[in-house]
């Protein structure tokens, strides 16, 4: 089992500026703090992989190319790209909604998308079995015509559309376990039955206006967009139940030729933005199951792209767990937070959580086997 891995130090140079959580420091928001989406939460994942020795078992892909204009324009509008390129060439700005970036930020974003594509090519060529791309900035909120929620470019769709052109892939499944709704892929593929988009997220959080169960795709794509809105406070039990009753059955019906996970760790129990209570075991187990689905349906072709996760203390252990599972590691590092986190009350599935998940499960049968 060979797992590819992408990280570039320049991903840490993307500037989100001084912020109070996700708002810029101005007015009564005191300056002097990093924005929630800062470099540390990613750099420390990379550092743990190296210090723990996990990195030694990975196939590091060092040579990545930025996504080209053509690759980006397959997903985004030219006007939007021109706009953020122009800002990037000056002092940076906001790419749309809550998406600050600095001078040169466009180039980093294009490299972030390019890292996803490079890893995807290696998977498709069979050079590696699967990959973890620790890319930054993230991508799952970006829409064709604007940046949203810290995301400039739709990294996943940009990679997938290029891979489709290059390798003739048909059915692609996106599994988004970031705590926020995967609005980008939903919008891009809403009418497309060849792309299954599944998003597990905290009910009605961000974006505020998307992510409901009844957003199930439209036209030819009806049935191919699955939202699993989780009650805030959902823990390991709810995640497992959602995976077992919705995500995996949906994948098994859809039989994707490639699975792309949009992997945020902001569903973790110590995240400052999300309110859920996943912990490293949760992410480990979800990875195991989605990897197993990839093995059943598409020779293990699995691309995991980094999205949110704002606990610099805890995201590293979630990241390590996912990477270890991708590698099939048998001897795994110890997450020192587990003894406390696994004991939190209501970590297991609650009746009201099960009820909510059942509404999503009921839609799985609308997916047609190919």
């Amino acid at each position: 089992m060979t797992t590819g891995y992408v990280w570039k130090d320049i991903f840490a140079w993307h500037q989100t500026g001084d912020g109070g959580a996700f708002l810029p420091a101005r007015g009564l928001i005191q300056p002097g703090q990093l924005h929630a989406e800062n470099a540390e939460t990613k750099r420390r994942i990379h550092n743990l992989l190296e210090v723990s020795g996990i990195l030694d078992g990975l196939h590091s892909i060092r040579d990545i190319a930025a996504a080209t204009d053509e690759e980006i324009l397959a997903v985004h509008d030219a006007a939007y790209i021109d706009h953020i390129k122009a800002l990037s060439a000056e002092n940076g700005g906001d790419a749309g909604e809550l998406t600050p970036f600095g001078p040169g930020g466009y180039e980093i974003a294009a490299l972030s998308a390019g890292g996803c594509l490079t890893a995807g090519r290696a998977v498709m060529r069979g050079e590696i079995d699967n990959a973890y791309v620790l890319n930054r900035p993230p991508g799952h909120h970006a829409e064709p015509d604007r940046g949203r929620g810290f995301c400039l470019l739709a990294n996943g769709p940009i990679a997938v559309e290029a891979l489709r052109r290059e390798f003739g892939i048909g059915r692609v499944a996106f599994v988004d376990w970031d705590v926020h709704h995967g609005n980008g892929a939903q919008r891009i593929y809403y009418n497309d039955p060849t792309t299954l988009t599944i998003s597990m997220h905290q009910h009605h959080y961000y974006p505020a206006d998307t992510g409901a169960v009844d957003e199930n795709g439209s036209g030819a794509g009806e049935g191919y967009n699955l939202n699993i809105p989780l009650h805030p406070g959902s823990g390991h039990g709810a995640y497992m139940h959602a995976f077992e009753t919705v995500v995996i059955p949906a994948l098994d019906r859809f039989r994707p030729e490639l699975i792309v996970v949009l992997s945020g760790f902001d569903g973790g129990a110590l995240d400052p933005l999300g309110r859920n209570m996943a912990y490293s075991t949760t992410f480990r187990e979800m990875t195991r199951q989605v990897k197993s689905a990839a093995e059943r349906h598409c020779q293990g072709r699995l691309l995991v792209l980094h999205e949110g996760g704002y606990s610099a203390a805890y995201a590293p252990f979630c990241g390590a767990a996912v990477v270890e599972e991708l590698m099939g590691a048998t001897d795994v590092i110890e997450d020192p937070f587990i003894p406390i986190l696994e004991g939190i009350g209501m970590m297991d599935l609650q009746p009201h959580q099960a009820e909510a998940i059942a509404r999503s499960a009921a839609l799985v049968s609308r997916i047609e086997a190919p």
Copy 2:
């Protein structure tokens, strides 16, 4: 309406060291981050009070004395105090469980407790109507024989016991709205019918072994300890419901001569440790109600002591809301996070939350009117 206020810069000098959330940086926990309980989360509350102009309307109590040995030993065991004094005189250490402190940390802790007592005296003497004490280190987890959960000394009980001796107060009510269980006051007053201890907290989080509904006091104190364990993910609605159906009715039965609020903001929607979704309006409204109860029962005598709250971005707005309500401010500052936070899904009372709260409400009638 005169509201007292205590803050000393030295509270920010209490050292909790380098940490990953609440664990010390060692082993696989990378150094380079502040411990969750760091100075910034308090300093920024103070800074917002000053910059917004709120501070100008407060009665700042600058001259505070450290709690004396006698005052401290009324609550804590001598062996414990000797132990942490000795560590403090060297390089600091851990006061028990997850309670790091640095050289000189004991003196800061004694001043933190002393600040509470000084403010309490001013309230009892009628020099001020009520007070917010922005003390640090916090106190609500400290037990007679050990520090726990970032707390070295039981600030609230130390202040209350001294005030009882000095002013002959009888019935005192503690209302703890920190997201963690108020185990300290519960343990200290478990058999005492003259001290009503109420704690609203995330069900079964920290400490892991206390805070259940059926911990209702024992012996003479039976009925006088009320726990309101909230489902993780509880929002404004649950907090309001708990206040209206448990906290206020309990206070109205008990008719305290002094109310002490142990005010943590880690129930806030952006807290990295708690999983609840209170926001500034929640804390504002709880303050309004508890202040009203104080006016009904004890000439408004209300002492609010600072406990947890780990979002440096958001705790300031929660603190400002509480202080404004204590002051009876009619023109209040605008919390820039409200538009986003109040829109989070399931912010209102959920049926399963109401059910849990009802179990606590059922115990209110066990409190005897004096």
Copy 3:
């Protein structure tokens, strides 16, 4: 002896952004570091004053007004002020050369200047004997038509010109011991024989094109601008020699009615920008001597305004020493760095340093006694 003191938390909210020393983070300058001129270097001075107890002996002036347009336009060009006001109302920008500021930065700058003026008024009215204004942003590099070197407004001249109008002061002496050249006051008063401007600074550092010995004033002001360019590496001995052979003799000839010190601590031995080796004793002794001169000539009227100083570790001890001397404190706090700093080689006056200082001393006699 009553010493006034000004500090407002909002001074710490002035945003200089992410920077590599004094350059903005862009290109190959990695983001993630505070700009050299950040809040910490000032806040920690204030914190030490409070924690050490020095603050208790000061007359804190809490109520300060921003400098008005009229007061500011007495020194600055209207076009420049309009320009930075406009930037401030948007996202901030750069006020000219190496002078970043954030949204609302103009208002903070006007308050910084206003703090100087408020303290100056209290000195002139005899309410206090002298004052330390811990203002931010600094002012000594600002020129009438542009911000330079982290300075937006010429705080000192703005205060002095208003005081002149309000109190009819004639001769004013500026003593600038910041490690950089006091180009602002030099330029503003270059032709004015009623304003003696003295600057001690590291030879030819910043601004690169001003500060030479032969810049001695012009026209009516000839002789009334004194530069003392110090060799990089100058220590306590050189500072003392410059004071004793240039600064004090010049003040004694000029007989000012008010002395304004532009007090930067970036001549300190641990400063990251300056290369000199002053330490707290140096600043203490200079304060003692300038205070003594003020007593001889102008009933002790002495206004000390904060300028540079970029060692968050060491500036606090320099600030405390200056404030203690202003107060005439007899029992002073211990600077823990002294044992190491006073032992640095070549801390005493070196022949080449004496030679350089002599060139400035030779110009003192050009000052006419009034």
Copy 4:
């Protein structure tokens, strides 16, 4: 030309704790700041190498072994090693004088020394021509029986003694351009005529009691220890003059079989501890000259080990310049600080500096050609 390079993320995990410059945060030294010798100053060098693309041209040595007990005990006393091992197994402590370290710090120190040795072996085997080891903690102040000045183990001597045993090297030259005195190698090799130890440093700074010109070796080693104490404030001119009149002539007489540079960047113009004014061009030029000497005498065998350097903003550009020269890069990155730094007054050689350097130059002839 192949240049080896060593960096491990775990070097950034060495804990020097909370500090005010080089003193621990206690007493009146406010907590909340990183110690001067923190990870950032190294990590940002590595980051710039990667982001600029320089890293792509280096031979990264990823697989390094910690120095063994035997290798370490060839230089250090067993009692000292046992002492710091014991502290490391608990909570860390201070290795002697101003040398804090955390739990597990011994293991990191042994790896830091091991990285030097691994790179040295590759040089000796001809696998690479030369190497830059970005090791941490540093080593040049460590003495056989104690840690000093942030250094636990004498990385350079430990590597050299092992290389001598393994490869039979005779004459080794150490060139130490850190701004502090290279007391470790001086003490270890003071009587040894086969090891030439040269240190350029700020006169009489740290350690306070060593580094004078007349410390010229003793016994058989007389003449083989050269100190070049530089006036504080020495700039590019002084560094060049010292190199051309002392360092290079000494190397040319000694004809080493291996040259080890102890490369600190704290002689840089923005360093908070040193007072000198080297800049990237200075370090570039010194590297060029020492590399040329290595080519003349020992087939280019040159090992550059990282020592001090405390400007997180500027050390990266100094590091990049050294690495580029080692590689013989013809197209080098642009140091954005050069336009300002090269213009600082007295950057060129001053007469008093030349005079001081001449005293060291006079000793060169005592070195006997082999």
